[in-house]
């Protein structure tokens, strides 16, 4: 699922390991989600959205809605 995770992470000056540590997840999870190799579970998606203080749909693009990227 395409997302803005890398952009938001970099805007906060975090590297992938920092973000993984802050969320208590593996670094591979952050790498996989950023690279669109893994779709995160809902709890991780919401956890990420809460961390960046954005709605989930601002972080993950909904491919079934035509009005988004």
């Amino acid at each position: 699922m395409k997302n803005r995770l890398r952009e938001l992470r970099k805007a906060q000056g975090l590297n992938q390991a920092d973000l993984a540590d802050a969320l208590g997840v593996s670094r591979q999870t952050i790498i996989g989600v950023e690279a669109d190799k893994y779709d995160p579970s809902l709890p991780i998606a919401y956890q990420l959205a809460a961390h960046f203080d954005v709605p989930v749909e601002e972080l993950f693009f909904n491919p079934w809605r035509g009005d988004q990227d």
Partner: protein, 138 residues
Amino acid sequence: MRISKYDRRQIGYVALCAALMVPFGLFAGYALRTNLFGDNVWLAFGVLLALGGVVWSINFLWWRSLDAVHQQGLMSSWYHAGFFGAFAFMLWMVANKMHKSDYGEGAMHMFFTQVAAGFLMYLWWKWRGSLLSGGKVE
């Protein structure tokens, strides 16, 4: 190299599992060598299963500590690569006419036990799913 909190937790569980597995293995070896349970197969199996279950329970704690994407990666690797590896090895045994040997039969038993246990778990998952919906399609 930096080790994250997440990785430290995984290392802790692996260390704990190894710390329990070694004395368990030593005990099982001792029991076998000294014929501790005599000819009572069910007693031997029950005791080893109970002690092994304690070690195995660490596995559940470790699994619950993994994040969902990590679990997905492990499950996918275990299911697809693990089963294909076992399947390929079975074919290798058949090609080498080893499948009738004690070694081959042991390997077959292990493989089919694993398949049967996986199938039972899958049935439980299906049954639990219909139980959660009250058996109704809403």
